[in-house]
Amino acid sequence: MAWTSLLSELAKGTVVTLTVSLAGIAAGMLSGLALALVRVGRVPVAAQAVTAYVSIIRATPMVTLALLIFFGMPALGVRMSPVLAAIVIISINTSVFQAEIWRASILDFPRGQLDAAHAGGMTSALTFRRIVFPQVWRASLPALVNEMTLVIKGSPAIAVIGVVDLTRVAVRWTTVTYEPIPPFLTATVIYVVVVMCLIRVQRSIERRIVARYGIL
């Protein structure tokens, strides 16, 4: 009885951890791409601002960022539920890392293809959409999956602002039953399984890219 209710609680926590992380990653992917494009495109002033922003957020611990957003945003008049705040926190945190991933693969992109696309009469927007992005996306994918494991490992920071994620479920169970070992060990196993699965996915993506295109 106790075990089944523990497992169902932990399952709920896992769902929260995964949904919040995935939502944060998706938002972070888009904003990361935008940040990278501003930086690579050398947009005056904005590029320098982005460089500073990336440098600062990369050095900010997830917990500190969580407290800053969750308590600081209402002071600016922006009210958010803990879950929404959690998604915002994760997306801000991961966007700067994803920006670096995008930037690296954009900078690696062979310029000759751009010239060829222009010679073929493509506009810049079309070139980006049809030529640059598909290749940059492929080059970034393994690193982006790797970033997902980092996000999952940083996600317990949202437990600090009251989101009942996997970690917080384990803490709650402990404070109610005074039996810490079952919830924490089970939660640990769940984290290990999730992260190991992501690593598998990353390896298989890498293998497929190599098999299909010859290089990573």
Binding site: A59, F71, A170, E179, P180
Partner: protein, 220 residues
């Protein structure tokens, strides 16, 4: 906002305490886990098959779980098996233990990429055993792994903020104190963010300096 910032800066003794605590916690954990990681990496590379597999499994599990999870396991589960530690011992040992796994894996990776000729040349010149490791292998591993170790050091600094949840008065904890007394959440946390940025940038700068020195001395 400016007025609030002055309020926060007026509490500088609190923030300085937190900043210094974070500094020494990270420095101590960094040094101790590097020393431990060197021995663990020896097990990972040279250990007999059972020892090596068990060590690798522990390292892999530690690298797969969030730091907060390990911290809670140490903090909540050890008392359940009648091991009572102070929160400082809990926090520091969790941080050191967790970071040792990452450092050890980095050192193992660097060792795996070290050209085999280095060891052979060392043997040809009469180095063997611990001397060979200490004089030939270890220095090259450390130089090759330098930047990655530096990045991991930055992760350590960022993980140390989790210690606030077991009420260790680190920078985040103290900034949170200040914000809850005066209700200046934005400004208090921004000051903390600036100080973390200072710490992480110094680590980055040090790693870059060390890289330049390594380059001058003929390492790639």
């Amino acid at each position: 906002m400016i007025a609030n910032l002055w309020t926060v800066l007026g509490e500088w003794p609190e923030l300085a305490t937190g900043f210094l605590n974070t500094l020494w916690i990270c420095a101590l954990s960094g040094v101790l886990s590097l020393i431990l990681a060197v021995s663990v990496s020896l097990l990972l590379v040279l250990g007999r098959s059972t020892v090596r597999r068990v060590t690798q499994a522990i390292v892999d599990v530690l690298r797969a779980i969030p730091f907060l999870m390990l911290l809670f396991i140490v903090y909540y589960c050890l008392p359940a098996v009648h091991v009572r530690l102070s929160r400082w011992t809990c926090g520091l040992s969790a941080l050191i233990f967790y970071n040792t796994a990452y450092f050890a894996e980095i050192l193992r990776g660097a060792w795996a990429h070290l050209p085999h000729e280095q060891e052979e040349a060392g043997r040809a010149f009469g180095h063997a055993g611990l001397g060979l490791y200490r004089r030939i292998i270890l220095p090259q591993i450390l130089i090759a792994a330098g930047p990655v170790l530096g990045n991991q050091m930055i992760t350590l600094v960022k993980n140390s903020a989790f210690l606030m949840v077991i009420t260790i008065p680190d920078l985040t904890f103290m900034a949170n104190q200040v914000q809850s007394i005066y209700f200046v959440p934005l400004e208090a946390m921004l000051v903390a963010v600036a100080l973390y940025w200072l710490i992480c940038s110094s680590i980055e700068w040090t790693v870059r300096r060390m890289d330049q020195i390594a380059l001058v001395r003929g390492h790639e």
